[in-house]
């Protein structure tokens, strides 16, 4: 056993106001090359540690070890995924870049939406923390993604929350649902950000690994874009917002533990607590700083805290930075330098300010009563030097910390079990034996579907979110996409949708990722917006499992191919790995968010019927594609092949929906996805409580399928639209001209308070509503 490194002296440490540590300085490290460091406890692999020593030409100090270990973690370095993610950049054409102002690599991508306006958006995961402490985990997930948006120079204008829970009746699910939903609401509502959409899926595969993804979108003028770089030698570096505590270093508490420093009590919080009030003030304060043009570069503090902010700012700028770490304002004065560098305390930002602007900067922070401390300055030495009370504890090339982390080509192979699964289609399976036939059975099946956990109304959840705040929400739940007005003068605005289907991806990860993009793209087009850009959050199991790694590789390949085919670039996103319990990974869940633009959001198309007598058209064709469907899921079957993604068709469908919306040819549109035509019809009716008479025969005859298949199949590139009588000819001409199949299947009947599937069955809307809206309250109160 080697001698412990003197990181902190417990005897001195008892006076918390005077943190005088015996510090592991660079000088000390150079003089004690044989001291063993707890790199393994900090998550570094043997080869990674050796690489650090090689880079530095000596052993790292405790503080340097802290920095490298967090920055080279999977979460921060993307070491398992980087090689694959490159495809998002490689497959982008110049044409796709047309609207891109800032691409992958910054805190969030920025997209030009015209008239000098830009939008930035990104989705991120907070899966594991939300399982441990659902409320705070989900809340700080929202907080983190919103800070990414602020740091681009934008005003955040909306959030969305794609969620995955375990089985709805599992005893632990209520704890997670209550905590996570109120955490997302508690934080987002307090920030004044309308929640405009998301997803809720229940599946036992997520039991120990709920997925909590959060998307934020912000708006800015082109000239307001801010980047995370520290340029201008002599410019000052400032840390502001909340004080630094021991948050998020629980797992790495080894830095304060015995192997490092015998006798020191390790009291580090296991979870981070968010303070949405401080973040709201930070938003307004940052926007005022931007407006006054007093920050040169800015970076939010998320995972890896000050380690990340200093090394990224420095390496993206003039290459050097000098910081005095004792200047950091602490909530917990017992923190060691390494812990301060690793802390993930929320609601903090770091900025670079010219000396002339220091006074103006301080005046704005004082106005908002935000605490700040000047940590140091930008240099051109190419080194990141961090001192503790004048002694150097970090002396590194910041690029080696921020960008030159390890990259792994992890082995992957197609799982052998997949052939068997793919061969086991739903049609003809045992679970399909009692396929509903005849009017009463079909009717019951529709009610069962619409009451099922995944297809039921999510109102119990979404009514806990503020969708009105800011006064610009043009569409929100339960419409297909959320729509936000950007410019009050012109009505310029954006639409957003997030989608993923883990079952499809399980059956075929390549196709599943394409289907996720296809659905989000279709949802955005259904609202009438032109899709422009993509963000994604890739939720998978362990990359060290070659089968999971294969799922991941296939998903990235599928998504990047599909982006190219649809002409929409990925602008940013997030990878969440190790979502597995006891060796069982979650379904591959590539959550895809698509952003679309409207010249005038007044033209948006909502997803419910309104006007009596309008004609209902079904666009697209239907095949027997029940594998992986909600219906098969209800029958406990998962096998076969997911529906086929036909992206050329998706693109043409989108053009029709966008043109129809712009030219006033449709009053309502609803895409067909999970739950197929049955779900689309029921949701269109329940939205404004307006019934319809619908006939299935013509479509069944054309597509060669029975009524059950037409209602429940999940074939892609389909939508139902309601067309005013006066527009029917124009609309059908447009479909014909584009060779897109469209059949008039019915008529909106505002007087009938029922959905009448002619020659099959009639269901009163009240009965449908009861089934659709009763499920979540029954489980969650």
């Amino acid at each position: 056993m080697s001698q412990p490194i003197p990181v902190a002296n417990p005897a001195v440490n008892q006076h918390p106001d005077t943190p005088k540590f015996n510090i592991d300085t660079v000088e000390h490290a150079t003089g004690t090359p044989d001291t063993e460091l707890p790199w393994a406890e900090l998550g570094l692999k043997d080869n990674e540690y050796r690489r650090v020593v090689e880079i530095l030409g000596r052993r790292p100090t405790a503080a340097e070890l802290a920095m490298y270990s967090v920055m080279w973690s999977e979460h921060c370095s993307y070491k398992s995924s980087k090689n694959h993610l490159r495809q998002f950049g490689d497959k982008v054409t110049d044409e796709m870049k047309e609207h891109l102002l800032v691409g992958i690599g910054e805190n969030a991508g920025v997209v030009d939406i015209g008239d000098g306006w830009a939008v930035t958006f990104k989705v991120e995961s907070h899966n594991h923390p939300s399982f441990v402490e659902p409320y705070q985990g989900a809340a700080t997930g929202v907080g983190g993604i919103v800070r990414d948006i602020i740091s681009m120079g934008a005003r955040p204008v909306a959030v969305m929350d794609p969620l995955r829970f375990g089985a709805i009746d599992h005893p632990d699910t209520a704890r997670l649902v209550h905590g996570i939903v109120s955490g997302i609401g508690g934080y987002g509502n307090s920030l004044g950000l309308p929640n405009i959409g998301g997803e809720v899926v229940f599946d036992s595969v997520y039991q120990g690994n709920p997925l909590v993804n959060a998307l934020a979108v912000g708006v800015l003028r082109h000239e307001d874009i801010r980047l995370a770089n520290a340029s201008g030698v002599g410019n000052r570096v400032v840390l502001f917002g909340a004080r630094t505590g021991g948050d998020g270093i629980g797992g790495a508490s080894v830095l304060a533990s015995e192997s490092f420093d015998a006798g020191k009590p390790s009291k580090r919080p296991a979870v981070q607590v968010g303070d949405p009030f401080v973040e709201k003030v930070l938003i307004e304060c940052c926007l005022e700083l931007f407006k006054a043009s007093v920050v040169e570069g800015i970076q939010d503090l998320g995972a890896a805290g000050i380690s990340c902010a200093t090394s990224e700012l420095a390496s993206n700028g003039d290459g050097g930075m000098h910081v005095e770490l004792t200047k950091v304002l602490l909530r917990d004065p017992t923190l060691t330098p390494g812990e301060i560098l690793m802390s993930e305390s929320q609601e903090r930002m770091m900025a670079v300010v010219t000396p002339e602007n220091v006074g103006a900067f301080e005046a704005i922070l004082d106005k908002w009563a935000v605490e700040y401390s000047w940590l140091g300055e930008v240099t051109d030495t190419g080194r990141l030097i961090i001192e503790w009370d004048g002694e150097t504890i970090v002396d590194v090339d910041p690029r080696t910390v921020a960008h030159d982390g390890p990259v792994y080509d992890r082995p992957f192979h197609r799982p052998e079990w997949l052939d068997g699964i793919q061969a086991d289609g739903f049609s003809g399976s045992i679970q399909d034996a009692a396929r509903p036939e005849g009017a009463p059975a079909l009717r019951a099946a529709v009610l069962e579907l619409m009451a099922s956990p995944n297809m039921c109304s999510k109102d119990w959840i979404t009514s806990q979110y503020d969708r009105y705040v800011q006064g610009n929400t043009a569409l929100a739940m339960p419409d297909d996409a959320g729509v936000i007005r950007v410019d009050e003068e012109t009505g310029l605005g954006v639409a957003l949708s997030t989608d993923a289907n883990g079952r499809y991806s399980y059956l075929d990860p390549y196709e599943g990722a394409r289907l996720a993009l296809a659905e989000a793209y279709r949802n955005v087009a259904t609202s009438g917006a032109k899709p422009l850009a993509v963000t994604d959050c890739l939720n998978f199991g362990s990359p060290e499992d070659p089968e999971v790694m294969w799922q991941f590789a296939e998903s990235v390949r599928g998504l990047s191919d599909a982006c190219r085919e649809l002409g929409v670039p990925v602008t940013g996103g997030n990878v969440s790995l190790y979502n597995q319990t006891g060796g069982v990974p979650v379904h591959p869940t590539p959550v895809v968010g698509v952003l679309g633009v409207f010249d005038d959001v007044a033209r948006r198309t909502p997803s419910g019927w309104v006007e009596d007598g309008q004609a209902i058209y079904l666009l697209g064709t239907t095949a027997d594609e029940l594998d992986g469907s909600e219906w098969a899921n209800l029958r406990g079957h998962l096998g076969g092949r997911p529906p086929k993604a036909d992206l050329d068709r998706e693109r043409r469908l989108a053009e029709i929906l966008i043109n129809a919306s712009r030219d006033g040819m449709v009053d309502s549109a609803h895409d067909l996805s999970e739950g197929g035509l049955a779900a689309a019809l029921v949701e269109s009716a329940l939205r404004f409580n307006v019934g319809a008479r619908v006939g299935l025969d013509e479509v069944c005859a054309r597509d060669g399928i029975d009524a059950f298949t037409l209602l429940f199949s999940e074939s892609q590139a389909r939508a139902v639209v309601a067309v005013p009588r006066s527009e029917e000819i124009r609309f059908t001409d447009m479909c014909t001209a584009r060779a897109f199949p469209a059949i008039r299947i019915g008529v909106v009947d505002a007087d009938a308070v029922s959905l009448d599937i002619q020659r099959h069955f009639t269901v009163p809307l009240d009965e449908l509503r009861g089934a659709h809206e009763g499920t979540l309250p029954a489980y969650f109160g």
Partner: protein, 265 residues
């Protein structure tokens, strides 16, 4: 545009005195106060503009009222709703001024004040209005379109409504349950100070379905629902006139403008 200061003019809060002074409306300066954590300040200002008035931004730490003719305390989570909703904001420097001005000795000098949601909570914490808000009976944040009955249109902020008129405005809060002791409730009822009542279901357990109240002078009104989110077709609650088309909240803002402008005549 001239911005005639109207404080000191004679606001009479009856429907009869409403002046037709359209071009004078923009002369009315309505202050909208921002605390740290306020969320709906820009929405309230927009509502004032849509109604034809001039919105003036006020900062909680300002020492003076900047000559505004009326004040809106908007919704949000001032100071994070920490301790109790509205508790910490009540002590802001500008609130002291507002409390003085709203309670001025002579009726003509009393500053009209509207508190929406968190603003209502601040008004009760300031004792400008009786009672208090506690957590919703179902303990959840609730965002819904609330239907209200206008019980009293003789306040500075409700003259443009008809007595008994039913309006739909969004409601969104966690601590929206209005409570007061029985004596206070009886007095409110007896004096006609219950300004709005929830109809078609009580969304949060409020005593006697109370959604909003006023003081006896009628210059101070507080309510939990958000009229400023129902002023613009396309961004409001669903209505008979169309989806998201509800603009029933606009009456608050036209009422105050008409009250102020009418008073100058």
């Amino acid at each position: 545009m001239t911005e005639t200061p109207l404080i000191g003019a004679a606001p009479t809060f009856s429907t009869g005195s409403r002046a037709d002074a359209a071009q004078g409306l923009s002369g009315a300066r309505i202050g909208v106060i921002t605390f740290p954590g306020t969320l709906d300040d820009r929405d309230a200002a927009r509502a004032v503009r849509i109604a034809g008035g001039t919105a003036v931004a006020l900062w909680h730490a300002d020492p003076e009222l900047a000559g505004v003719d009326a004040v809106i305390i908007p919704g949000g989570f001032s100071y994070g709703d920490y301790l109790r909703a509205g508790a910490l904001s009540r002590f802001a420097p500008l609130m002291e001024r507002i409390i003085q001005a709203a309670n001025a000795r002579t009726a003509t000098a009393r500053l009209p004040v509207l508190g929406i949601c968190n603003g209502f909570q601040i008004l009760t914490e300031s004792h400008l209005l009786p009672g208090s808000m506690i957590k919703n009976d179902h303990l959840k944040f609730a965002c819904l379109d609330a239907k209200l009955r206008v019980e009293n249109n003789a306040t500075a902020w409700t003259t443009d409504y008809l007595p008994g008129q039913e309006i739909t405005v969004p409601l969104k809060n966690q601590d929206g349950q209005y409570i007061a002791d029985e004596k206070t409730l009886d007095a409110l009822e007896a004096e006609g100070l219950v300004t709005f009542r929830y109809v078609g279901g009580n969304p949060n357990g409020s005593r006697r379905e109370i959604a909003g109240i006023s003081n006896a002078a009628g210059n101070i009104v507080g309510l939990m629902p958000h009229p400023e989110h129902a002023v613009e077709s396309g961004y409001g609650p669903d209505a008979a006139s169309g989806r998201s088309a509800g603009t029933d909240g606009l009456g608050f803002f036209t009422s105050i403008l008409n009250t102020l402008v009418g008073g100058t005549k």
